[in-house]
Point group: C2
Chain length 253, copies 2
């Protein structure tokens, strides 16, 4: 079997650790466009299996939101790991199939987050709305944070469908910092917003499931977030492949 | 059993995600004192068991150094996880006992790093040498990186012996950014250099093993790093409890 120690980042993307990438973070921080970076990078988690990018992303975001899972992870500690997220697909099924955007949103909501789901459709209106939502998210130190589902091939990366959180925006070049959860392959890097958007507009070639983005915040009962039943009904009404159901909420104790 | 969702950071320490903590990083970056932050935070790993802070620290540092483990982690990917580091203690032994400073250094060297080990002894000379080594390490974008072994109690934190990497230095307040690998307990935070030094000078109360710090770099054969045999002989000559031996080098293939 051919094995890999990382993959070279395409020349058109900028590594976070490069001098340019570091300067871009400093600029984004000075402009207030990197508030989300701090909590997200504090909990950035490596996806633990090749098809677990959705789980790795949720572990990162739910811990960055400081959501208490209400269940023990290891020792006496309540913290999110992949094993706490399973409620509708087994880890083995998820390892084989991965998760759809709807399933990732559903799992977040099952586990104490509020979720807004947006499908990407080609066109300037969608791109502009995405950029506006992105700016609001990177400026929010306590969330909601943005998670994107995109096709790696459209970024000249190896692989196909992928999930990762977004942490900062660099205004002068209109690029976004992707905290790629496949850190063994591509550590964090900057991507032009418009290229990322195009990579989000490509549907899954095998399931035809649409891609897009999620805004995941800490559920506040005072804000009356969309209930899980309503979310599932809405997703099912849109014909989204969805394994997660209202009955799958994990036991809390 | 009492369980915990994080622990409150003592008032005398500054959270990385707080407004002050964020400003301190911006200041450190502008001064060139946060070059190590970028690769280290890109690979910051949560320790996977209560006594695995040494393993979690090594996973972070060896991946930040971009060392190729020469063995597969998961799927086709060569990347460091705890399970690749075991060569002399089983994971179960390590989970029960933790690792000494010498053992962490030895494991790093077994796995392709060059290691300098320094024991902390009370006194200004030691503190000044530590600060100088710290400054050199945070200014180095490709390492060597600094790992410290200290007593949490001396920082008013719960727990006792701990390992973590250091990522940045804030000159105006003489504080250092600790990328605590127990992220479920204390996410990254700033600590005054002198307090950290005092916490490193406290020996392990059960084994009397001295604490201190390691400078871990990518081994360069042209630089003729101290060989594993010599390191082990030197540590044994100092009477350091050491389970790791020259024979324990992992199989590479």
């Amino acid at each position: 079997m051919t094995t890999f120690h990382r993959r070279p980042l395409p020349d058109t993307l900028i590594a976070f650790t490069s001098p340019t990438g570091r300067d871009m973070l400093a600029s984004a921080m000075a402009a207030g466009d990197a508030a989300a970076f701090f909590p997200l990078v504090s909990h950035l988690h490596t996806q633990a299996a090749p098809a677990w990018c959705g789980f790795g992303t949720l572990v990162t975001v739910l811990n960055a939101l400081e959501i208490d899972p209400g269940r023990v992870w290891k020792g006496p500690w309540r913290y999110f790991g992949e094993e706490l997220l399973i409620c509708c697909k087994t880890l083995e099924e998820a390892a084989a199939e991965g998760l759809t955007l709807g399933e990732v949103g559903c799992l977040a909501q099952c586990n104490g987050a509020s979720v807004q789901l947006h499908y990407a459709r080609p066109g300037d209106d969608g791109l502009n709305a995405f950029r506006q939502a992105l700016l609001a998210s990177v400026r929010a130190p306590a969330g909601p944070f943005m998670v994107v589902n995109y096709d790696r091939a459209a970024l000249d990366q190896t692989g196909s469908g992928h999930f990762s959180p977004l942490a900062a925006w660099h205004a002068p070049t209109d690029q976004v910092l992707v905290l790629d959860v496949a850190r063994f392959k591509y550590p964090p890097h900057w991507v032009p917003v418009e290229r990322l958007w195009k990579a989000m507009c490509a549907p899954d070639t095998s399931t035809q499931a649409p891609r897009g983005y999620l805004l995941i915040g800490k559920a506040d009962t005072a804000e009356k977030p969309e209930g899980l039943d309503a979310l599932v009904a809405r997703l099912q009404g849109m014909g989204v492949p969805l394994m997660c159901t209202p009955q799958c909420a994990p036991t809390v104790g």
